[in-house]
Symmetry: C2
Subunit: 340 residues, 2 copies
Amino acid sequence: MAVGIKDLAREAGLSVATVSKALNEYADVSEETRQRVREIARLLNYQPNVTARGLQSRRTNMVGLVIPTMEPHLSDDPYFLDLLAGIADEAAEHEFALLLTRCAPGPKERTCYQKIVRGRRVDGLIVVRTRSQDQRVAYLLEEGFPFVTFGRTDQGLDFPFVDVDGTQGVYDATRYLIGLGHRRIGFIAAPEGLMFGFHRQEGFRKAMEEAGLAMEPGLLARGDLTLQSGDVAMGQLLDRDPPPTAVVACNDLMALGAMRAARKRGLWVGRDLAVVGFDDTHVAAHSRPSLTTVSQPIYDIGILLCRMLLQTLQGKPLEVRQILLRPALVIRESSGGTIS
Amino acid sequence: MAVGIKDLAREAGLSVATVSKALNEYADVSEETRQRVREIARLLNYQPNVTARGLQSRRTNMVGLVIPTMEPHLSDDPYFLDLLAGIADEAAEHEFALLLTRCAPGPKERTCYQKIVRGRRVDGLIVVRTRSQDQRVAYLLEEGFPFVTFGRTDQGLDFPFVDVDGTQGVYDATRYLIGLGHRRIGFIAAPEGLMFGFHRQEGFRKAMEEAGLAMEPGLLARGDLTLQSGDVAMGQLLDRDPPPTAVVACNDLMALGAMRAARKRGLWVGRDLAVVGFDDTHVAAHSRPSLTTVSQPIYDIGILLCRMLLQTLQGKPLEVRQILLRPALVIRESSGGTIS
DNA sequence: CCTTGACCCGAAAACGATTTCGGAGTATAA
DNA sequence: TTATACTCCGAAATCGTTTTCGGGTCAAGG
């Protein structure tokens, strides 16, 4: 059933070597045989065995991505899909494929990466959702394995990355709220260790400090990025006396949860209370009230990440190894809270 | 840098053959050497080269999935991500990885599949979003390549699949609307050729027919599954005179678009007008008003699909080759439309 | 006529593992 | 003592390509 290069050789009355060279644009094969071989290959629908070719060339033509979420359901992070789309599209553009795995952060993670790296399962990796002390980055650097990350880390290592300036984003959002007159602003943080959560929180701190506003510990809650946790966190914030008049959440999902919690208490978000999120996922635009949030071009980031990785795989050094994108504040209904 | 089986052999003073057998639980190697080899492998952090192993075993330990959407951004189909998660999780469970590609339906599609199949890039494929005359299914069957689909087709071919009974789902939803007193019910259909769209529309037709209600052509609009197209389609429906009092959309996204269109015309969905969707994506639960929709266990479907595929790859015949799941109507606010 | 070079082609060695098969060594039975 | 069986181990083939390197043919040049 499967037709190999030997079949072509037999059919053409040539050696496999010549056939191989004919198909791969070698110079030392006559134009005539090249055409003949091509024709036969077309007729027999020949496609070279990727594995064999990979063994010989020591390349897999695949980039890998390990999704590091805890929960089985991924839709909690809707932006992952757009990121994947960007990566897959750019990869396809260069005849690469995307190898997808999932592995929760933890002790098994190292093994997972070892299998991929030492087993040469892919040519390069894209690491997402970086952590402050990221063992994955350290490991890949130590192995000298090609990779690019989405996000920076906090361990003083040098490696190529693309990141969104979360500090700037949340800073802008918070200043906007302050500009509206808000003074008691709550913050729903991400789990500790997540680099993007840290940066975003920094933006909040900075904006508040600049405005001479105290950051009450009581106005800082922490969630785990899920909608439910945003609901719970918002409940804690609203229990304060006096409660905040505005709340910044570390991501859209928690912002949505926060809105739900407010609603349950009879508060009208966008009037009694302002809420802003981060990510500008599709839900943000179509929730009621629509969510004011900070937008990052996630699909394009996927493209960018993949492009950078592929370029290093080709041996070409990157002109720009580290990219920090400035996100944009998107103002919608949820931030129209009254100045209390 | 890379440590191969030869390195282990040299280190252990054994032949590569013995080392290989020691690591692979062969009987003809003494317990003592087995232990020693294992220890050395552990120390050197040996991981067998996946490509070489694959060439020998003629298996890649990968399942493939080609995403067949037209648009670059995938979030239009939020459920894809959960499906991927299910597949990836189940694959990981069996030491498999998921190879992801994207290829829009069209003439290039066949080439894309040929490369994968004849190039033996993966051991088996998962085909999603089946079409009535699906060339992909026909091709895979013709090649005798292992695959499972999410969705049936309309070409009288026999192959393993998992599907959700869209007819039943929309039937239930429509009957529910009829039960509320609605008589003029619109339908926003999916692009032609998509099998799930056909089934869902059938459910609508059946319910209407049973209730003795006419299916006016003017109350049938067609979208392309995006939110925008739902908006447009709803516009057309509301231009009818008299307009429908309820609308069933083929998926949640178009339902959301429909709600937006209604809102733009000053209609209050859930009071002036009923809208129901299909999929029960996360947006559905958190839109305002929340969306009444038909729910399918998409993550579990991913698990199921992958499990079926892996089982056939192991040579075990499937006890159940074709699975039709019954979806559940989830009643929320958007269907609370007045009986006109 | 011999040499040189250009032009094609094929034998064979990789790539890194697995798997077959035979052989050496030792213990047991005749 | 010899035959037999059993335990381990290693040489070599294999998977399907690519790539190196040498050789054969033929025309042109000396």
